[in-house]
Subunit: 140 residues, 2 copies
Amino acid sequence: MQQQIAVITLGSADLARSQKFFAEGFGWQPVFQNEHILFYQMNGFVLGIFQREAMAEDMGQTPQAGPAAMALAHNVATEAEVAPLMERLVRAGGRVLRPADAPPHGGFRGYVADPDGHAWEIAWNPAWQIDAEGHVTFGL
Amino acid sequence: MQQQIAVITLGSADLARSQKFFAEGFGWQPVFQNEHILFYQMNGFVLGIFQREAMAEDMGQTPQAGPAAMALAHNVATEAEVAPLMERLVRAGGRVLRPADAPPHGGFRGYVADPDGHAWEIAWNPAWQIDAEGHVTFGL
C-alpha cells in the first residue's frame, strides 16, 4: 500500500478568516472554494479547510475546539526566514505558541497557532531536502 | 512562498501501539525511529508520530486529548478497496467513526479513528489523480 496521505483537512469556524490568514500569512491561494470548503494544492497532497459544522457532519463526530495533539510544519530554506515568517503569520491573525529557538535535534523553529488554534511549526531543517515542487525528503 | 507542508505530526500516547497500527493497518514502515518519535516518508512530505509529552514540550503547550477538528485522508484506487481497508484498520486497533458511504460530492468514503483518536478518512475519489509516487493532484 502506498505511504500516501491525499488530504489534510482542518476545521475552520470562519472560512473567510482562514482564507485571509493563509493568503496574508503564507501567500497561499486556494485551487477551489465554495461556501463549505477551501482546497489548496500542496506538495504532493491537498490541504482542505472545512467549515466546522460541515466537517463534523462529514466525519460523523463533533470535534473538540482548541489545540489537538497535531502540528503541521512549513519548512523554510534558511534560519533567517523563520522569525520574519512567524511575525507575518501573527499580523495575519495567528498567535505565537513558542518563540523560535534551536531544538536539541538541530535547526531552528517556533510555533504559531492559526485563527482556529491549529499549531503550525515554522522550521529550518538543513538535513531535509525540499525540491522545486516542494516535495520533502526525510534526512539525518 | 511554496504551498508546502513538510511534516504532519500526530501525538501518540504509546509509540509501539502506533507503530503496530500503521504497520498492520496500512502496511507502512518508518524511515526513522527513536524513543520519542517515528518518521514515515510520505508522498512529498514526512509523517511524524511523536510521543505526546515530548510533543507538548516541543510545541510549548499541552494539547487536548480526544478528537480534533482535523482529519487525514488516505485515498485508494477503487471503491471496492475502501471497506476492506477500514476493516483492516479496525483489526489493527482502530475504531469506526463513520461507516463507508457515498458523500454528496461523489466517490465513496468512511472514517476510522487511530488508537489516539486521530480521524483517518479512507476514500475513493475518481476525480483526483495519484501518481506512482503517491503525489496527489486536486481535480473536479
